[in-house]
Structure formats: structure tokens, C-alpha cells
Subunit: 268 residues, 2 copies
């Protein structure tokens, strides 16, 4: 679905997919291997999640070194580099490491590229399911077990109709938790535990709101790219830019976003 007529757009998409493919291989190499240990370290002291995290980031950086050496990189595991092109890749090799070590299929590989003010392209990839949520340059779609489908966030009349997700019920500081709970007490349904997959579901028009706190830039930029391209909105709890992480509210529609924001901004 990306516009193949613009060479930079095609190159950025091709690079992003090559990165996601490389990360799939590395993350799946260690997924569920630690089945017989309960402390995530094998008897040898080997820690599968740390190893997978680093190997996947190294693999993504190798793709960038080959295809886009002039771009900057901000990753979770290794040092940032500035770049000279004005574009920076923001990557999280395994978002949801606690989900990963528990064998769930809701962790993901997050990839974004932008100019510092805007995410131009974002990917949320779930390697085990083989599902890739993509958004950027005005297009959003998912490739998964049931083929390709466009992504479109859904309208929602207000909080009382909304489905809300958050990774933990214990959201952030006490003030942050109060903010979260003020929204939670007004929505139709609250669910937990989906890691980055919840953001993909906002883009897919299945979920209306995701509220979290304490996030990093690399936790949110991939989701921002996908959700914005699907018609949704992602800001901090004051309605400001969410690019640097922190307190995040992602919504499928402006109405439900505004209602959530009013409760959240009051709490902090």
C-alpha cells in the first residue's frame, strides 16, 4: 500500500521491513526456549530475553548501517547516534519483555523513523503471530495470518462506550494511577496485559483508548506512526506531543481522546 512513486518513501519502507524481518528472526530464536526454568536464566547463566533483545537490535542496526548509514538511531539497548540526514530511527527490539518471558503473543518489535517533530513511518510487529501493523505517509495496514487489511481507527461517541487498555493496573505514580482510574471508572470495558499490541488494536479499530505512563521514546514512536496513519491520535496527558514518551494517551477518535484528556490532565 505504500506510495511507490516517491523513492525516499519506498526506501524507508523497504528499510523498515528489512529491519522488522531481521528482528523477527532474532526474537523468535529465543522465544519460549526458557520453558523449563522459572527465573529466565538457564542453568548456564544465559538470559534468553536479554540476548534476544540485544541480538534483535544489533540486527536492525546492521540493516541501517547497510541501507541508511546517514540516519540517526535511538535504540533501547545501545548508544544513540545523531546522523546527518535529519532522519532518526527509533527502535525497541522487544517491547513487553515481561510478556516475552511469559510466552505471551503480545510483545512486539517497534520501529519508527521521523525528523524529530513527526513520526513519518511506524511499525508494530508481532513475530510469533507473524503480524505486522504498518502506518505512514497517509497509509495504514496490517499483514497477518488472515492476509492484508487496511487499518482504520474507529469512532467512539464517548468514554461510556469506550474499550480501554493498559499494560498493568498499577499505572505509574500514585497521581498517575488516580488519573488512569478516573478514566477506567467511566469506560465500558477495561483490559490489561497486551503490551504494545494494545496500540495496534487502536489502529485496527478494535480498542478506543490506551493509557500508560513512564514510557520511553522507543516505546511509543512505532505505535504513533501506525495509529496516526490509521486516523487515531496519540498525545501526552496534557495533549502535547508524545514523541518522547512519558504519560501517553492513544485514542481512536478525537471525541474519546478529549474526554480522557480532561480527566487525565486534572489528576496530575
Amino acid at each position: 500500500m505504500p506510495d511507490q512513486t516517491d523513492p525516499l518513501t519506498s526506501e524507508l519502507w523497504a528499510t523498515a521491513h528489512a529491519m522488522a524481518d531481521a528482528a523477527r528472526t532474532e526474537t523468535l530464536r529465543h522465544f519460549r526456549v526458557a520453558g523449563l526454568v522459572s527465573d529466565n536464566k538457564l542453568a548456564s547463566g544465559f538470559d534468553p530475553v536479554t540476548e534476544a533483545d540485544r541480538a534483535a537490535e544489533r540486527a536492525m542496526r546492521a540493516v541501517l548501517a547497510e541501507r541508511r548509514p546517514e540516519d540517526g538511531i535511538l535504540g533501547e539497548e545501545f548508544e544513540s547516534s545523531q546522523g546527518t540526514s535529519g532522519l532518526t530511527w527509533v527502535i525497541d527490539p522487544i517491547d513487553g519483555t515481561r510478556g516475552y518471558i511469559s510466552g505471551t503473543p503480545t510483545w512486539g518489535v517497534l520501529i519508527a523513523v521521523g525528523d524529530g517533530d513527526r513520526v513519518q513511518l511506524g511499525i508494530v510487529d508481532q513475530p510469533y503471530i507473524g503480524e505486522r501493523f504498518c502506518g505512514g505517509f497517509g497509509e495504514a495496514w496490517v499483514d497477518g495470518p488472515m492476509g492484508r487489511a487496511p487499518l482504520r481507527s474507529r469512532p467512539c461517541a464517548g468514554l461510556s462506550d469506550a474499550v480501554l487498555f493498559s499494560t498493568f493496573p498499577e499505572v505509574g505514580s500514585e497521581a498517575e494511577r488516580r488519573g488512569f482510574e478516573a478514566v477506567r471508572d467511566r469506560v465500558r470495558l477495561t483490559r490489561y496485559g497486551m503490551d504494545c499490541y494494545a496500540y495496534a488494536l487502536v489502529a485496527a479499530g478494535q480498542v478506543d483508548l490506551v493509557i500508560e505512563a513512564g514510557l520511553h521514546a522507543y516505546d511509543v514512536q512505532g505505535p504513533i506512526g501506525v495509529i496516526e496513519a490509521a486516523g487515531g491520535i496519540v498525545t501526552d496527558w496534557q495533549g502535547g506531543p508524545a514523541l518522547n514518551g512519558g504519560r501517553i494517551v492513544a485514542a481512536g477518535s478525537v471525541e474519546v481522546h478529549a474526554e480522557a484528556l480532561e480527566l487525565l490532565s486534572r489528576a496530575i
Copy 2:
């Protein structure tokens, strides 16, 4: 992996797989179609989850009518029938309807067959991922995106090493919630929101404990079949049989089960 030398065993497995295949088709037909509505009813009043639930149970009953008309049936959606063979199928076409309507990949189709005292065979099927957890007659395995693998629950020295799952943080009655929280406060990691998928992860040796309350027979018998065949243990909070649902504790090892039970039985 099932023992093909015993004709009844092979027939039960073949029947169970045919049921799971039929339910996959029906559940996926409506999964994520309601993307543009937030109340799960399309403008026409059509409710995709109810329709999928019923269609999947009808499809499974049709398989039984053809292959095992003499067996009893206990299903979520339609009336029970007694049967004359001494065997009863216990089926839940969509376990985790709230997950289903939110587009998550952690709801499942649950199938079990037993003689009333024991589950002989259980299946937890996740249609979207294309993953089927199977256990019975001394064998347990999963067929999924990465092929076939044996299932084996893992040892766990005690609660302080354990990973605990439950669908909601608000578990059951106040006394039940206290029991859950007594365990939660002792474990290494607690996660929510996985529906029946959490039980499959106990069988897969990824998770040590699942604790829930207020379940029905059809919510637990499929998981019991898989977990027991994988070496784990499922009882109620007093250590009694869990076949009829109610308060459930599923564990990968006897040590962690005993520790959890002590706290849970004290709370109620």
C-alpha cells in the same frame, strides 16, 4: 503424537480436531469485523460475538452428531444432552469473549471429553494465531506458527520464583480477591488479560500459576486436559476436583501449587 494403536483414542482425537477446525472457521468469520463500531452491535443490530459463539458451538455439535452421536454434550450456548456412552464433551466456543470483541489474540476454543471423573483429552485452540494446544492419554503438544512442539509444565521452587496470571485484577468476591492478592503479593511477576491462553502457557512451561474464580465447567475442562497431560495440576482452591469450575488454581508443579493453595484456602 496420540497413540494411534487404540481405536477409541484415535477416534476421540480425530473428533476433537474436526470440532476445533470447524470452530476456527466460524469464530474467524466474525473476528475483528466489528472494527468500526464500539458497542459490538453493527447498525443492523447484529452482534458479531454472539453470532460467532453460537455458530461455532453449532458447528462443533454437528461434528459430534455425525461422529459420536452416543456421547453427551455440555456446551456454553445450547442445552446439555446426557448421551449413552458414558463420555461427555464439554465445549466453550469462545472463551474470553471480551478479548474477542477487543480484537486480542488470546481468546480460545475449548474442547474436552471425559467420563465425568476425569478429563481424558483437552484442547485449547487459538484460531487467529493458528495455534492448538492438545493434551490427553499421556501426551501433550502444541501445533502452531513454529511447528509442533511437546508441552511440558516447568518446575518452580516456590511462589517467590513464580509467574502468576489471571484474567482480571478484580478476581471474584471480596474474599476471593483477598485470596488472589495474598498469592499475588508473594510471586515474582503477575500479569493479566490472557483469557484461556494463560492456561496454555502453564502447559507450555512458560507460566507457573493461573488463579481465577467464578468459572464454569466449560471454561476449565479443556485447560485441565492440556495441563494435566503436560505434567501440571489443576484443582479448586481447597485442592479438590476442578472439573465443575468455580475457584481454580492451575500450576505447573506440585510445590508452587501447594504454596498457593495454602494461601487461597485460608482466604475463603
